[in-house]
């Protein structure tokens, strides 16, 4: 056995609700390993999610877990962190939850630079409601609400986070399990708002209708199209066409919100 997940899993909650081949389970394992590697007390970890398939994740892990309303995880997490700064707070959700209905909270969290961690599970689709297009559905892709192909432009989540002021922004995938774990750990350790986009796969809602025959083929697509940022630096735009970059895309030091607030207002503790 390479790793015993049991000590972080809530008893009796498996099997989880995710479909066969959904990569969220794989990412959940990376998440558990990442937190375990930090040796954080479980009582000091809070995971806050919104609505959607990804947002069901907190129910399976033995931390302080908060499954909120659609798109609002970051806003709940903000209040929680300000009330109890000792908590290591992770806000997480899917692409629709975080960048459509929750888009406003997402960009303003990046701007504030409160010391919370944000994971966006991007599977390019609304899975739970049955495959409607999301802000990250690729142009031309099929969804039940884009039956003729996606006509809208899509968000680049990491560019959005960088533009909004997040101080740590990275991308990883469900395929790159070790990289995913390492990136999550770094994001947790970063002081300030850190955003990790995790490329995921929804075989049921997206894959079947968009020419992915099997769940494994969706993971292989990640393997084949992800380029590490170090390698990408030496590649031409032509070579990078159709690929996406993984790794730490942006990392800067800026004053963290809570510390700045407390100092600015002269908080009497």
């Amino acid at each position: 056995m390479s790793y015993d997940y049991a000590k972080y899993l809530r008893k009796g909650k498996l099997p989880h609700i995710w479909c066969a081949g959904c990569s969220y389970g794989i990412v959940l394992k990376s998440l558990i390993r990442a937190i375990d590697s930090l040796q954080w007390d479980k009582n000091d970890v809070a995971i806050v999610s919104g609505i959607g398939c990804a947002s069901r994740l907190p129910g399976y892990v033995d931390f302080n877990t908060l499954h909120t309303t659609h798109g609002r995880s970051i806003a709940f997490a903000t209040g929680l962190k300000l009330a109890n700064p000792k908590l290591n707070v992770l806000a997480m959700g899917g692409d629709g939850d975080m960048t459509a209905i929750g888009g406003n909270h997402f960009i303003h969290a990046c701007r504030r630079n409160l010391d919370i961690t944000i994971f966006v599970f991007n599977n390019n689709i609304y899975g739970m409601t049955g495959a409607q297009y999301s802000p990250t559905t690729p142009k031309g892709a099929w969804a039940t609400t884009s039956p003729y192909g996606m006509a809208e432009n899509n968000f680049n989540i990491t560019d959005l986070a960088i533009g909004a002021g997040a101080t740590y922004v990275a991308r990883t995938t469900a395929y790159h399990v070790a990289h995913c774990e390492k990136t999550m750990k770094e994001a947790f350790l970063h002081k300030g708002t850190s955003v990790v986009e995790i490329i995921n796969s929804c075989p049921t809602g997206f894959g079947r209708k968009n020419k992915f025959k099997t769940p494994a083929s969706m993971l292989m697509w990640m393997k084949d199209n992800a380029v590490n940022i170090e390698k990408a630096k030496n590649m031409s735009p032509e070579e990078l066409a159709g690929k996406f970059i993984i790794g730490v895309l942006h990392k800067v030091e800026r004053p963290e919100y809570l510390e700045t607030y407390d100092a600015t207002v002269g908080l009497k503790k």
Binding site: M1, S2, Y5, G21, S23, Y24, L28, V177, P203, P215
Partner: protein, 67 residues
């Protein structure tokens, strides 16, 4: 050859997505009645690909103690 002591399969959690089978480099496991099953433990190199990638916590590989 075999480096695995045992491959434990938690059948009630396995959803039959086949990711483990597709990622197994040696053909040690296979699909049987829509669930993963051990085909040939001898072939297992304990590379852990199946365990790492199983989304359902349904497959656990126990490495052999170093001899």
């Amino acid at each position: 050859m075999a480096k695995a002591e045992k491959i434990e399969i938690i059948e009630k959690w396995c959803k039959g997505c086949e990711i483990c089978v597709e990622f197994c480099p040696t053909g040690a496991i296979e699909m049987r009645d829509f669930k993963v099953a051990i085909k040939d433990l001898e072939k297992c190199t304990a590379c852990m690909q199946c365990e790492l990638r199983c989304p359902d916590f349904a497959i656990i590989v126990y490495k052999k103690e170093k001899e």
